[in-house]
Symmetry: C2
Subunit: 598 residues, 2 copies
């Protein structure tokens, strides 16, 4: 059977100019109405919806088949396009001026009654949607998500190809990496007891490609991270990964801006404002309390410590004496009652603050606040001036260790200020990240990854806590879309980073020896980036989470309700891999019902 036989026209393509044409259509019954014997069907295919009309008076042979039709039957029709009668034109539908008078109708596949309505306005439990993802994908919003994703990735590739980047596939069965604990493993059958890891990113391979002389590499790469699934993560995800030799930060940011602009045009039809604003990491932290600020709104954090430098208000003077700071935001005219304001205080405490001071600016310019009476006129005036306060504004002030103050005010700022949807787009580059941060144990760990170049090697060696790196992020509406850096291309610098991280020469040699060796063969200076494709498309499509733009995602516990993965595997198959199940797993199973997933 050839397509011409079944279908020669897309349902969504028909227009008034097609009137008189005989067409063959195929798709699904999206809606069905009977009007005095005449049956109107909405026929939906991948290209859209058109109304088809079956009149059993003209076509008695179709009477039985048309009355047997149910929602989501897959059908093929042949008929003549005609203008709809006056008064029945549907302006909401691109095909709304026409309908197809059916001369032939065949059921290609019937459908069982649906487990849920295929209507964007109906709210369906997500597990059920995933279990019937093939039906969920027929819904207009999801179908458009798939199309948008394809367009977006195409736009990314177009920029890469225009700029002379080579698409290169790096392996996905690799050696376990330093961040190994989050590696997903694949047991080897040819070498039982040994394992491959799935890549968290193509980082080292793309650096090898630079050493290999590729100069410009890109890949839309599947990556894997065995995280405790947080709200909006998946075990597997996709990134646009690229890298260039003889390249520096400005080259990467220019390319990124072009990619982001083209993807935005592909999904929104309009260019974002360019050039994208740029903040240093320190500026971002100081003004927004986060390294991924949402700059669609202001409400910047202001340091009020100078205002309170000689304050008699004990809570603040104690903080300042202890080396902390007092900072505030002008949350604007929130109009909250006392209970709402108290809610903000509780929220601040949840976030780790000892407390939060609110002040509401009265019509006469005075400040209403539980602490107003403890402040001098000068202090009240200083706060109002520093926060550019107007009548009706609510000011929120916290005093604590500076990182706590920034974190709390940064989060409160989002709580009270962040727009709900993504109609407006605010791209932002954050640059000059620190090289290192301290983990919970107080050890130095790389803020990006250990292959990131420091701005200055001496600075890194002498003051690692303050050292700045050549790392940069792309942020959109307060979400990190991706990060990148200029890489270390000097093996001595790379060894020094390992040393500062407390990795002994022996350990570095054992874990990264092959990479350190590769660096010794004329490694070019190089830099690159990786964009999280799922997140970028979710934001541009204004979707609540990345699962909406992933065709077949897992649930937050890593399960696929459709196919039942992950499942059990026969003991014999595991034996070939040199592995077995642990006794506690087997003991737990012995108490359970048999698992269907064997």
């Amino acid at each position: 059977m050839d397509s011409g036989a079944l279908k020669d026209t897309s349902a969504g393509a028909l227009r008034a100019a097609d009137a008189g044409r005989t067409v063959r259509l195929a798709g699904w019954v999206a809606r069905r109405r009977d009007h005095g014997g005449v049956v109107f069907l909405d026929l939906r295919d991948a290209g859209g919806i058109v109304q088809v009309v079956v009149n059993p008076e003209d076509r008695p042979e179709l009477e039985d088949v048309v009355h047997g039709l149910r929602l989501e039957y897959c059908i093929a029709v042949a008929g003549v396009v005609r203008l709809r009668p006056d008064g029945t034109v549907n302006p909401d539908l691109p095909t709304g001026e026409v309908e197809v008078a059916v001369e032939r109708l065949d059921v290609l596949s019937p459908s069982e009654p649906l487990p849920f309505q295929l209507d964007d306005r109906v709210d369906v439990d997500e597990v059920k949607r995933l279990q019937y993802r093939y039906l969920d994908l027929r819904r207009p919003r999801m179908a458009e998500n798939l199309r948008a994703r394809s367009r977006a990735v195409r736009a990314m590739r177009d920029v890469m190809e225009e700029q002379g980047f080579l698409e290169v596939e790096t392996p996905t069965l690799i050696a376990s990496t330093p961040e190994g604990a989050r590696d997903m493993l694949v047991p080897s059958r040819l070498r039982p007891g040994h394992f491959y890891a799935l890549p968290q990113s193509p980082q080292l391979f793309k650096q090898l490609l630079m050493i290999g002389g590729v100069e410009r590499y890109y890949q839309v790469a599947r990556c894997y991270r065995d995280e405790d699934l947080r709200a909006d993560r998946q075990l597997e995800f996709t990134q646009l990964d690229f890298e260039g030799s003889f390249w520096g930060q400005q080259d990467v940011l220019d390319t990124l801006e072009e990619i982001a602009a083209r993807v935005t045009v592909a999904l929104r039809g309009a260019e974002p404002a360019r050039p994208f604003p740029r903040l240093t990491w320190h500026e971002a932290m100081e003004r927004y309390g986060t390294d991924k600020p949402d700059i669609r709104f202001g409400m910047q954090i202001v340091d009020l410590s100078p205002v309170f430098s000689t304050t008699g208000f004990r809570a603040f003077s104690a903080v300042l004496d202890g080396g902390g700071s007092v900072r505030g935001i002008n949350a604007g005219p929130l109009g909250l009652a006392r209970s709402g304001l108290d809610g903000l205080v509780s929220r601040a405490q949840e976030l780790g603050a000892k407390g939060l001071v609110w002040m509401v600016v009265e019509d006469d310019g005075s400040l209403r606040s539980p602490i107003a009476k403890f402040l001098t006129d000068e202090e009240r005036h200083g706060v109002a001036t520093a926060l550019d306060a107007s009548a009706g504004d609510t000011l929120l002030i916290a005093g604590d260790d500076t990182p706590v103050v920034l974190e709390v005010l940064g989060r409160l700022r989002l709580d009270v200020g962040r727009p709900e949807g993504h109609d407006e787009l605010a791209y932002l580059f954050v640059v000059d990240f620190p090289v290192f941060e301290r983990n919970e144990d107080g050890d130095l760990v790389p803020l990006h990854h250990p292959f990131t170049a420091p701005r200055d090697v001496t600075e890194m060696r002498e003051r690692p806590d303050e050292a700045i790196s050549k790392a940069y992020d792309l942020v959109l509406n307060g979400s990190e879309l991706g990060s990148g850096s200029v890489r270390i291309h000097d093996p001595a610098v790379q060894s020094e980073v390992f040393e500062i991280l407390g990795i002994s020469t022996e350990e570095a040699e054992r874990r990264f020896g092959w990479f350190l060796e590769a660096l010794r063969y004329g490694t070019p200076p190089h830099a690159g980036f990786a964009i999280g494709v799922d997140r970028m498309i979710a934001i541009l499509r204004d979707q609540p989470n990345i699962r909406e733009v992933i065709p077949f995602p897992k649930t937050q516990t890593g399960a696929d309700p459709l196919t039942g993965s992950p499942g059990r595997v026969e003991e014999a198959q595991l034996a070939e891999l040199g592995i077995c199940l642990r006794p506690e797993v087997l003991a737990a199973w012995a108490e359970e019902e048999p698992d269907e997933g064997v």
Copy 2:
């Protein structure tokens, strides 16, 4: 550091018209010659090679640095393009009319002495090449393989996009499939003791996309198969996967032909002859003894059974009485001595034949052969006529069970007739494959996969051994590039296939229940294909194996000599996954040296 600062021109781009320009170049020292104090360097970058000239008389400050240069140092130079002096133009190099007189030269990274020469003419042990793949990729042939691969995949995508196919990513952490024994497994940490499988192909997910209304899907998909690595297989490989709804075989073959033509143009600069010839599976087996004939040469197998129907030559009459056949090929003017002809007989026996008869056509038209004296004039004449024999031709004849005869003559045909290189290209469609074959145990198994539509359901039910399917292959120069089929879209037919395969209703429900259910919701008729990208590019680039066109392949034992994967993993990490190593693995390790891969 921005790129403009280091490099503004590609080395390979310089031409006579650039003479007088000041350029900044960066790349690697590919060659170095000293002529009376003047140093000539071949500077290589991703775009090609240009000669740069350093004259320490003009630039004394460069004397030390230029004499310190070694092969594969990464350098940046600035200088003026000038025409080469008469008599020194190099016509073999695109940049051969010019050279760059160096004014500045910086070493960006030195290189250690190389483990092997980066010269296409030097033969290097493959394990060593893989261990230093980043150097191997600098060799011109390998660099061109990478570029060609990028162009080829781009050409594939272009056709798909032009024809309205949506790029959709399907998951790679999936449920284990029916051919599960070849699945690579990924243990789940969130559900210890349970496993994902890596996909052998996106088959079921692309069918779900058709059910989901996508209509036209494609993906350049990473796939995995845990094979005992044969000569030219990899654990992970790439396929161009596509599927269409309301589509039949002709649509798929038309699209395939367009893809193959465009990829051929991208890699060879010329269109292949179109339309591609087409053979049924039965024709292919009868004429070439294989389902993937190399039709760059004729030498077709001819059934000589009629010639020998009343023969007195016992070996042949016994075969024919036993239901076998006698067939032959005209191997042309091989000009083999007796020992060479005996070698063909031994080879035939190796391949499973009881024997092989050779005949050489003498100048007078008579046949020289060990069996000539047992044959009648009529039989000798019949053989010569059937095989269109001319003086000097060697005829090879085998009598046995027909499958053995076809297999043996098909292989001998390749041995004696197959061209060495891939200069000539012969694409071919093979269609009308059987639905089933018998495995070694005599059980019916699907020849393609169990989702392939039969041509006729009644035929499949009543004569499964002869039943023809709607499956088709694309063959190039005797290699299968890929296969596809019209799929089953009727759940009743799908259940019937499982039943014929001896899979009980309960087992089918347990293993494929979710897929059988999906088929019940208005599944459109659909068909598709998957092309092996690695193999196709290897053939078009005339490479000896697919590892040459895979950036970072594994060895035939699945190892990566560069990174040392697969490696050992800490017990604690395995414990989190609910698995442990088997006692025999641990016992074997206890006797070994400590493994470096921990």
